[in-house]
Symmetry: C2
DNA sequence: GGATCATTGTTGAATAAATAACACTAAAGA
DNA sequence: TCTTTAGTGTTATTTATTCAACAATGATCC
């Protein structure tokens, strides 16, 4: 069974992770089969798009019955399966950081948060949502020690760039940035921003 | 001056709000002019794209000097200016909710968070980051009273759908959802999800 | 004051994505 | 067993987005 992973467009990939999430809910609700138009409604797109995406990954459903929730979920799981499980560190254990830990707590398959860091020494040493918190001065050492390759930044805007550089310097290749500043990092490091303010603006725009 | 707002593609709009944010930083750093390729670097796209976007909104720069940071910022401001300023309510004043309040605290122009709600009566009555917190049972009354039209959901997944429906029922037309469940709402309500887990997965994918 | 140079404004081609259309298939009922 | 029906798999069309190329421009320097 050869995998044409590289040929699957990124947009489709992104939708696949959404489909998988939706399929998990459906499975939890005891739903065995789902139609393309149902999935489309949940994912806020069209039935044609869903069918096309599933065609791309080579999944086959059955007329009348639709797609098997379990089998489709398993298929996407295999596709999205990370070669190496991702090892994540969170920097900044303030309100936002702790909220993220709690949120992501329900382990994602193949992704584990192994450590948290904070400049406040009071916080380090504690265990938050099952994750050990270290002082930020140990960042480099611990990242190497634990084989971390992904970072989540939940620090104040003023510190984001510095922390990001330190992470990148010790081999972190992906960063999820919650600080509302654009990060400037060497090529090869994937950065994704979650800018709540921008999201709000976007909605305000679409609404009026 | 007629505005061709409707003709500006959504993708461009989304980039515009990012440009504006970047311009604010540049202005704060005392930068008076910026070149298309500089802006492109910050926005993670190409110079051609930046120029095209600015062409679409009809902004003119100067060769050699580039674009005036202040004037371009003002131009985008006008374009993005909301007819009516948006009035926002946050539901769920847990870790995540409080973090959001603190984050968005630095007021966005034309967007104000006017109220927070929580089911824990201990929390209501308090003022968090300048925002008054009410018990969630008063949600409908207060939303109407304050003329809220946008909602931020930072409640547990199990309550998200119910709260969203209640908000929509009293006239909220846009919802920013942090709960990792797909919301099913009547057409006309704009929903945007921020699913941290999905974001992480996406980065893990891109990295390997 | 004119040549030069770096950058803009614009157009057109190439690429990618979304949509629609339709033949095909498998279950259900007579 | 044949027909109906609802939904899939696929191809074609349209639409949107990105990229690349180049003429036009206006500061700057000699």
């Amino acid at each position: 069974m050869k995998r044409a992973k590289a040929e699957i467009p990124l947009k489709t990939m992104e939708r696949l992770v959404m489909y998988r999430r939706l399929l998990q809910y459906l499975a939890a609700e005891g739903c065995a089969f789902v139609f393309s138009h149902e999935l489309a409604k949940l994912a806020n797109n069209t039935a044609a798009q869903v069918r096309r995406d599933l065609m791309i990954i080579g999944h086959h459903g059955s007329p009348i019955r639709g797609y098997g929730v379990r089998s489709l979920g398993a298929h996407i799981d295999r596709l999205l399966a990370h070669h190496e499980p991702s090892r994540v560190a969170l920097v900044g254990a303030g309100n936002l950081g702790r909220a993220i830990l709690a949120h992501v707590g329900f382990q994602l398959p193949g992704i584990t948060i192994l450590a948290a860091f904070d400049s406040d020494e009071e916080r380090s040493g504690r265990v938050i949502a099952g994750v050990r918190c270290y002082p930020v001065r140990e960042l480099e050492r611990r990242v190497v020690e634990l084989g971390i390759n992904l970072g989540i930044l939940a620090v104040p805007a003023s510190e984001a760039q510095e922390v990001a550089e330190r992470l990148a310097a010790v081999g972190v290749t992906g960063i999820l940035n919650f600080a509302p500043v654009p990060l400037r990092l060497p090529q090869g490091v994937v950065v994704d921003e979650i800018d709540i303010g921008m999201k709000l603006e976007r909605i305000a725009l679409c609404c009026q």
